[in-house]
């Protein structure tokens, strides 16, 4: 048995015989240094551990070693400082830090020298610029990201990208991170979803590790934050994020943020954060147009080794307009269907498969729709279902009816019943009215898209 394995066996056995706290405190970071001729030397962290092991555990260790067939004459402990980094590296790094942090041409060099390994927290390598499809809706965002990777931290800092679900925000910002890690040797690129940031912050508070948390984020070279809208309403975290943001921005570190709406529309976001988010550049990413959708389908299909005919591509692009995520879902569904039955995908199969596309999504209930609508308009569900006819309740009620019709394809009498109305003509009138209104009234149109989006998230 190799010496390393022997020590693992000893640790394993000891762990079972003593309390967890004892094991962690005394045996973590111990190692077998040498076992020459029955003279066992064990490396430990500090004198406290050394003395404790000598006093309490030496017989135990000896017995287990012998059980594992090791000859033991003498066991001694040696204090070793376990160093994770090469100290000369640190030396250089600090000297550089202290010397000239200010001359721009040195920044790059310093970053490349600063750490021997690179950080790439949270980045998924499958997102790259190469497989990002540029179309009308995302041209500007793509160009801005290209500019950023050529000179991180100097142009468009922070970059704020917003747009609906499933149109490639995450893909684009992850691509920036991946590119920088790969091509610029950027030492510390952090990608984090806001939800994760919140979670880590809460944990840091709980385990009193806020200092670690703070220094982890403030030493990033590039910080990418996804779905920042979820920070809304969390004051303490906004404050922490604010300071992190400032520290990085001031050090000319690149910050990239994505959200589903522009900063000014994120409710309960503090003013100072709003103004900061809008500081560099905010870019709206739009839903892809028809041509882009076609291109996406083609590329995704060829990634899976399938060539689709143009009519199939166009059928899919025409029928699924909401977002790219659904487009991919539909494509995968088609390809899986054909693969299982060993068929070549063609228009007949596609259209029969997706004729049911208009059928009711199974996971949605009418109650969910009414609830989401009520929440969007910030009114009580009882009001929507109740008898009140105030304008600020009537409109949401009508919108709910419209969405029940458009998404679930319910019959009018059923819609009326769901909302506690007696007469199905009310439902017909409401759906008609909203259908017309939504073409001219942007408020209503926005409400419908946002509620619908939330249903499918």
């Amino acid at each position: 048995m190799k010496s390393n394995n022997i020590w693992q066996a000893v640790l394993g056995e000891i762990e079972l015989s003593i309390s967890h706290g004892n094991f962690i405190t005394w045996f973590k970071n111990t190692q077998l240094v040498s076992d020459f001729d029955g003279n066992i030397i064990i490396g430990v962290n500090n004198i406290f551990v050394k003395q404790q092991l000598e006093k309490k555990f030496i017989d135990n260790i000896k017995a287990i070693l012998q059980k594992n067939g090791v000859q033991v004459k003498n066991i001694s402990f040696e204090i070793q400082n376990i160093n994770h980094e090469d100290s000369t590296d640190i030396n250089n790094e600090v000297v550089e830090d202290l010397e000239e942090i200010h001359q721009k041409d040195k920044i790059h060099q310093q970053l490349t020298n600063s750490l021997s390994h690179t950080y790439r927290q949270g980045l998924n390598e499958k997102y790259t610029f190469d497989n990002f499809i540029v179309g009308d809706g995302n041209e500007l965002a793509f160009a801005a990201c290209q500019a950023i990777v050529s000179q991180p931290g100097t142009r468009y800092n922070p970059l704020f990208i917003y747009g609906g679900v499933g149109i490639g925000k995450t893909h684009l910002i992850q691509a920036v991170g991946n590119y920088l890690v790969k091509n610029n040797n950027f030492s510390k690129v952090l990608y984090i979803s806001t939800e994760q940031f919140v979670q880590e912050f809460v944990d840091a508070l709980r385990f009193r590790k806020t200092a670690d948390f703070v220094s982890h984020y403030r030493t990033a070279d590039v910080l990418i934050v996804d779905d920042v809208q979820f920070i809304a309403g969390k004051e303490k975290i906004q404050e922490e994020f604010f300071h992190t943001f400032n520290a990085l921005h001031q050090a000319n570190k690149q910050i990239i943020i994505s959200s589903d709406k522009p900063p000014k529309d994120i409710p309960t976001l503090e003013e100072r954060l709003k103004s900061r988010f809008a500081w560099g550049m905010s870019i709206d990413m739009q839903n892809p147009d028809f041509e882009t959708r076609c291109a996406i389908i083609k590329i995704k299909a060829s990634e899976q080794g399938v060539d689709l005919t143009n009519d199939v591509v166009e059928f899919l692009a025409n029928n699924i307009q909401t977002n790219i995520r659904e487009l991919e879902g539909a494509l995968n569904q088609l390809l899986a269907f054909c693969e299982m039955r060993q068929l070549e995908p063609n228009l007949t199969i596609t259209s029969s498969l997706f004729s049911s596309i208009k059928s009711r999504p199974k996971h949605l209930s009418s109650r969910q729709i009414i609830e989401k609508t009520a929440r969007y308009f910030q009114i009580q569900m009882e009001d929507i279902l109740g008898a009140k006819r105030d304008k600020d309740i009537v409109v949401p009620r009508q919108v709910a009816m419209y969405i029940l019709r458009s998404e679930l394809h319910l019959s009018f009498p059923k819609i009326a019943k769901e909302l506690g109305r007696k007469d199905h003509t009310t439902a017909i009138h409401s759906v008609d009215k909203i259908e017309k209104e939504s073409k001219i009234n942007m408020e209503i149109k926005k409400a419908i898209t946002e509620i619908t989006e939330k249903l499918y998230v």
């Binding site: 405190t25 204090i79 160093n83 100290s87 030396n91 600090v94 202290l98 200010h102 001359q103 220094s215």
Partner: protein
Amino acid sequence: MKLQVTQENLNKALMSVSRIASSRSTLPILANVLIKTTNNLLTISATNLSLAITHSIGAKISQEGSITVPARLMQDYVSSLPADIIELEVENNKLKLKTKNYTSTINGISADDYPEMPSIDKPSKFTIQSSSLKEALSEVVLVASNDETRPVLTGILFDSNEHGFLIAATDSYRLAEKKLTSLKKDFKLLIPASSIQDLLRILPDENITINIEYDDNQIKFNVNEIELLTRLLSGQYPDYQALIPKKFEIKATVDKQSMISIVKIANLFARETAGSIKINIKNNLVEINSIASQIGENNSSTEAQTSGQGEITLNAKYLLDALNVINSNKVDFNFNGKLEPILVTPNNQKNYLHIIMPLKS
């Protein structure tokens, strides 16, 4: 164990020791203090496995023994007792404390489970006066980093050679160095700044001689009846000497108090920019400017003796830290313009220097 001890002595010992005991450790017994009789002395000790403090006090011991009890409870209890004689008795891992009017029992854990207080086998030794050590450490310690990703920077460097004894710290944004008279010994020790904070707490106000013992991995300070032992950090400390500029073009000598007050004022307007203030030196005037786009801006100045002119942007907090530890009525500023570090020293004293990196403005 059975003994009698005065409340004052016991309280004093618990005060210096119990702070070390932490309830956050993975090992529950580390939240306790060890109470033990040795050679007719009562010793109170605690450790957090990086540092250990033992305080010995006189007591009338009628039966030897030892126990560990929760540090917080013990300290809170003893400090609220009146100044009187306390009788301590251990029975079945319970500590009985008796005074005239109070009797209580604290559940403890056997001292066998408590980590042994370490000793240094073949120590090297030196001595130093506590007043100069205390002064030097308090002028340097706040500069050390608390970023655990670069462990060497969380330490305070004791660098002794023929020419002098240097105590230094840096967090790579600033640097402080104090030069003490030579000990005529050669060593380089790197002590965790957190241990130095604890050492500062137990250093007395009056001047005494401190005996220090060390080997490759630990160092022990004997301060009167208290022993503090801490592990040493390993690793190569950055060669910071190379970074101290040798020549300066711009110099100013300012009254320390008026400098502190204008920096404080400027700092009010620098919250938004994380404390960045612009310092402008010209024509016998030091002028500070800070701008907060949302709040407003500030311009303050104070008289100075200057030579040369130029400006530099600094972090107000770092500057205040430096000014607050400098022990002199007047301070000297020396720098070479925006991009190079600024040197802050007490006026006409060569034994202390504080260097701050400028911010990009």
